[in-house]
Symmetry: C2
């Protein structure tokens, strides 16, 4: 089955369904955990599967520097490299490069930058970013965009948006010419016999993977366009229309969470959503708290990612049904209750707040493992609740559910 | 069933059987992973169970400082605090205090020392160490000994050994008077209703635990004596005899791996084993490499512990059937093979050397998780092999197998 969003229920602007990818189906709206360097920090792939993660995000900029795209490509792409048979999305590196304020230089061709690791010089362009993402081989890849800084004046926001549109066209051109170079394409020789056996073995345990395995080899990646336009709804509309004119199988809203007030983020997201095709996936990049991801999903966003659950976990900040818990606090030192009595994750089922507090206060590695597992579970459970809420509404009219 | 070693097969000096504890049976000879601060670093209790760990070691000195014995005791003891229903052994703190060379002062009464964390002053004596270990509530606890430094002259080694013997008698006296104060004794009120429910729920999943649960409440801990005597076989013999005269349900060989040559360690272990009761557990403390633990098990040692597999893992040193692998080396950057092709652990079944090398080189937390899981599996598999080797020998004559 080709890549698509299969909408199965709607409620207001929200929709629930499945994203069909070369590496399995993904229930939407979906929260994608961030695995920057081909690993969701502190959590094994077994545990991610157990948590029900169906798609994760990895960062092209970081993988470009370590271990390098060529290494991953030779190992058969990210799926094989990290032994993850479910779906993956990579960003384009644009946002990360944008964050290197003092180390980057942008021109029409692309962005020259220095590595945050060793200061070594590198260059990314729409074509280079496509080449990198094809080599990494994620199921969904992103156009190379310029993330407009905040605040930006009208001229700067327009110029930046137009650059992103021109880059989007170059990305599509390069991608269309090279998309069959993805490491897991049937046009590529099979590289790794041991891991191949591994895939088949795990496939026997999991029909979902097996069913999709034959498909994977005859498919290619899907390239999403990114809407920019700063904080101007009119520019956002124009960016959406011109990106849609180029034509992509999905669209992202980028350039948010760059320092603007949360209300402004929300206004821009909602107004931009109105201009995105109803029958294609809509991906809001880099957002947000559990409340925010629930709200955006209810507003019609299909895909989201954020480092918040994993990063907060490593700093001892845990999301619970009773609010945020800072587990380092001494008040939990003898608290025998579960972190979140309403949570059915392995951490809340097994350990007390006192033990979690002890692990964190003692700087034990297990603190980071358990905290991350809980926070990811909380985010994934939040999205499960939203999906159930949507499905409890009305189903779309026959025929309208398929794009 | 009361605590005992049930010997089921012997081969030469080696013996295989079961250690019967208030928290389940432990197949011997056994390697005990070290969980210094009530956590085997980077590994969840679920994973330890999956690895087949039946007993782990925790350090009284470290728990004494963080989170404090009283906190653990109030939470129901170590088993409940860390949600581990299988057996636990705690050391006495003697070895750790001994390691604080510049921060300790020993006299007949005990050891005054300063915390390695904040320099705060503390005092441990035989009685204090017993009180702490009863509060922590491990199944097997250790007498408070003086670990003789290396090298030590004859007078010093004798004086130190005799101090340890006097302390052993004080430990036993205190323990016999206070052993019913263990938090999980039937004489203690049940403290934690949620965790109690948890124990019962997990017991339903695991008959082994359930079978032993009723027993646990009617039992107490078991206190082992420790043989010292430096590097003098004659002093070791005397230490063994005098400790046996005091009378313990098991005996440890301490004071080794303190800087002496490995051959000397081996000579002292072998000569000391000759003086320990054949029908009681023999515990060799803080040893060693996979080869060493296999050799000592074949020589009649029943229990061993060592930080080596877990600590080496965190530094990227991995034990394999083909020898030691330093996974940080660039030669593994594109090595698609399993870390140890002969290993059936989850890490070797799923990930390539290239991926493990990438995780380590990128300082990813998952490196420490996966490396530790593999090394522990390797140690546990080594002991399974030794047990099978012993059982492939001849069984003891009827009647001789029970103490």
């Amino acid at each position: 089955m080709p890549f698509r969003l299969q909408i199965e229920a709607t409620r207001g602007a929200a929709r629930a369904g499945k994203l069909i990818t070369p590496h399995g189906e993904v229930e939407t709206p979906v929260f994608m955990p961030v695995g920057t360097l081909a690993s969701v920090k502190a959590v094994s792939q077994d545990t991610l599967e157990e948590l029900g993660v169906e798609i994760l995000l990895s960062n092209t900029y970081h993988l470009f520097l370590r271990p390098g795209v060529e290494t991953v490509r030779r190992m058969g792409g990210l799926h094989r490299f990290m032994s993850w048979d479910r779906a993956i999305l990579t960003d384009s590196g644009g946002f990360q490069v944008f964050s290197l304020t003092d180390l980057r230089k942008v021109n029409e061709e692309g962005v020259a930058f220095r590595s945050h690791l060793d200061g070594s010089p590198h260059f990314l362009s729409p074509e280079k970013a496509m080449e990198a993402q094809i080599g990494l081989g994620a199921d969904v890849i992103m156009a190379f965009d310029e993330c407009t800084e905040y605040p930006a004046d009208a001229a700067r926001a327009r110029a930046s948006m137009e650059l992103t549109v021109r880059w989007a066209a170059r990305c599509k051109n390069y991608f269309e010419e090279h998309k069959h170079e993805v490491p897991w394409s049937s046009h590529q020789p099979s590289a790794i016999s041991r891991q191949e056996k591994q895939v088949l073995r795990s496939a026997q345990d999991n029909n979902r993977l097996y069913d999709n395995r034959g498909e994977a080899h005859s498919q290619t990646q899907s390239l999403f366009g990114i809407v920019q336009g700063g904080m101007d709804p009119e520019l956002r509309r124009e960016s959406a229309e011109r990106t849609i004119d180029i034509g992509f199988p999905g669209y992202a809203i980028g350039g948010l969470s760059v320092g603007e007030p949360r209300e402004l983020t929300r206004d821009i997201v909602l107004s931009t959503l109105d201009h995105l095709p109803a029958d294609q996936p809509r991906y809001l990049m880099g957002v947000g708290t559990p409340e925010e991801i629930a709200q955006y999903a209810q507003s019609g966003v299909d895909m989201m990612d954020c480092v918040l659950p994993t990063r907060a976990a490593r700093h001892g900040f845990l999301f619970t049904s009773e609010g945020k818990v800072s587990i380092k606090q001494a008040r939990y030192a003898q608290d025998e209750s579960a972190l979140d009595p309403a949570c059915d994750c392995r951490v809340c089922q097994r350990y007390s707040r006192a033990y979690l507090r002890h692990l964190y206060a003692s700087n034990e590695l297990l603190a980071q493992v358990l905290n991350t597992v809980h926070n990811l579970h909380f985010y994934l459970a939040t999205m499960r609740t939203v999906r159930a809420w949507i499905r409890a509404g009305h189903a779309p009219a026959a025929g309208a559910s398929q794009m």
